[in-house]
Amino acid sequence: MSLPGARWLRRRRALVGLAVHRVVGRLRSSPQRVVLSVLGVALAVALVVAVTGVALGLTAESVVQNDDTDFWVVPEQSTAESVAVSSGGVKLGDVHAVSERIERDERVDYATPVALSVVPVTDRTTGETEYVLAAGIIPREGQELFGLSTTPLAPGDPHYANGSYDGPWTGEAVVNDAAASITNSSEGEELQVARTGTNRSFRVLNVSQGEAGFGFGSAPIAVVHLSELQSATGLAESDQADQILVSTNDPAVRSDLASLYPHTTVVTKRGLSAQQASTSNLPLAVGLSALLSALVVGVLFIATLMGLEVSADRATLGTLATLGFASRSRSLLIGCETLVVAVVGGLVGVAVGAGSIGVVNRVVGAQFGIAEVAVFDPLLVPYGLVVAAVVGVVGSVYPIYLGRRTDVLEVLSE
């Protein structure tokens, strides 16, 4: 490094050190404004961490709930739709054959396509049309989907009949309480599909307390055989489904799954993956709203309080000017001080946000019996700190402006 370059770097490093020193010194001598600034940023960051945690919770729950499932093979969708309710979105094709191929891998316990469709059914009492979310799968014993056991359904997918869709129609359905309630049906009764061009119906084998777990309360759900749902909804053409659930103990399976289809994504059970973040409008909107609110609140807070701090500290800024500190150096000092305060606020905010997630989960669990509404992902720590840093950088503009306006001669004459 050249000598002037080294000197420049040393000067910058020393100015940063001076900024830290001054913030610590202020915390010792007159901490009120610094503490308030830290708390302001902490509040904003805690808000963004807690709300993003809730959004992550929504996102993590937005895939089909099945405790045995480790991977979901889902289409890459251009629209941010929830995986679970993307009944009108991009479909996977030839899903029976692909699932069989996946199951032939000895590392895989099982694989089943899942077709999701909002199906109109006729209310037996009133004759009115009601809508249920129908999930078509290839059932197996001991399997659960949306919290509904598929054991009562005949194993396999007899109607598929090697792609001819002329096998026996079982018409079997397992429904949750909400679906039974809105269709006025109970075990052994028929659910007539109210769709033009079909006279298909399903027979309720079992009603149980399933839970969609989308975070929107209890949705009416019916689990049926995949090929029968495909036939009733027009998905039989090209053997379409929305996703393939894969249960395995071997994480290496993921790379094989990714190569099954072009333009698909393999989603893991939980985590802050881009797919999860982008596949649901609501969590994304919630997260973005929290981010914007936090930025606005944080910036206003720190800009105001650090602006007051600069005004109160005009004598020091004037002194630095008399000593020969260039305007740029003084601005850097103010910027660094604001950033230091913001990052400290960020650290406090992340801690408070993490605590808030725990509290939210505990309260919601106690009040509503929901296990986990918010998720604390470790990535929220750097996320919160980056938000705090952005708040610090943007919030430093006003104090720097005030600092540059400081009239040295006026300060000296006071």
Binding site: L15, L18, S29, T316, L320, G324, F325, L412
Partner: protein, 252 residues
């Protein structure tokens, strides 16, 4: 004039022409009174002439005192010599630089490298130790931490505060704070030392100690000090009297 001044004066007379550190010629500084009328302001605002045709030169090894009542232009002259301000008219050169031609950044650099300032109210940073305060200008100069520390420690020892290096300004007496301020002003080895009422906040005994320091420094620096206080001005080789922005009579 003190005996030490007399010794210095004899030495100076014997030497060849010494280096002029600061010089001004027909210096004028006017200030506009009022804040203007905004977008629709009436234009001409009354001006106040704080300095009116002041000429002065200060050489290395010389202590020049400036006296005058409040409003006479002492502080204005000091601010101009320190390149904190620019003249409205006239010539002003400090350390060979034409101050009128310098940008704000250039004037800051000039102050950093060639001018040391000592104030009546010390203007130390309260959050920093005495050593950190002294080392402050060296931060802007880009010195390493070790260099800064060594230089500040040495300067504090020179002003008799070697044992107080880690104390904060609030833990020091007024005289000690002023000595820290002098050490800070000397940190960059400036050519010109400017002091504005350096003993104004000090008792007589402490003020005397500070003046002794200035006398010792007078050998290597050009010093300009403004004061109302006659004992303070007594250390000066010559005293310029300002009245209404003009130099009154001959130098004393």
């Amino acid at each position: 004039m003190s005996s030490r001044n007399q010794e210095r004066g004899v030495a100076r007379e014997g030497a060849t022409e010494t280096e002029v550190i600061a010089a001004c010629e027909s210096l004028v500084r006017e200030y506009t009174r009022g804040s203007g009328g905004g977008w629709f302001g009436s234009g001409s605002l009354p001006t106040v002439r704080a300095l009116d045709g002041v000429s002065l030169s200060v050489r290395r090894g010389e202590i020049v005192g400036i006296e005058g009542p409040s409003g006479s232009g002492k502080s204005t002259l000091l601010h101009l010599l320190a390149a904190l301000d620019t003249p409205t008219a006239g010539e002003l050169r400090v350390a060979g630089e034409d101050v009128r031609r310098l940008s704000e950044r250039g004037r800051a650099k000039l102050r950093l490298e060639h001018v040391g300032l000592v104030f009546q109210r010390f203007h130390l940073l309260p959050a920093l130790s005495a050593r950190a305060n002294v080392a402050l200008p060296l931060v802007e100069l880009g010195w390493s931490k070790r260099q800064r520390r060594e230089r500040a420690t040495s300067l504090l020892a020179d002003v008799g505060l070697g044992e107080r290096a880690t104390h904060r300004p609030g833990q020091l007496s007024g005289g000690e704070q002023q000595r820290v301020a002098i050490a800070r002003a000397l940190a960059t080895e400036p050519d010109l030392l400017i002091a504005d009422e350096p003993t104004g906040e000090l008792d007589t005994a402490t003020g005397r100690q500070v003046l002794d320091l200035f006398e010792d420094l007078g050998e290597d620096h050009a010093i300009v000090l403004a004061s109302h206080d006659q004992p303070t001005l007594a250390i000066a080789d010559r005293v310029i009297s300002l009245r209404d922005g003009r130099v009154q009579g001959a130098d004393r």
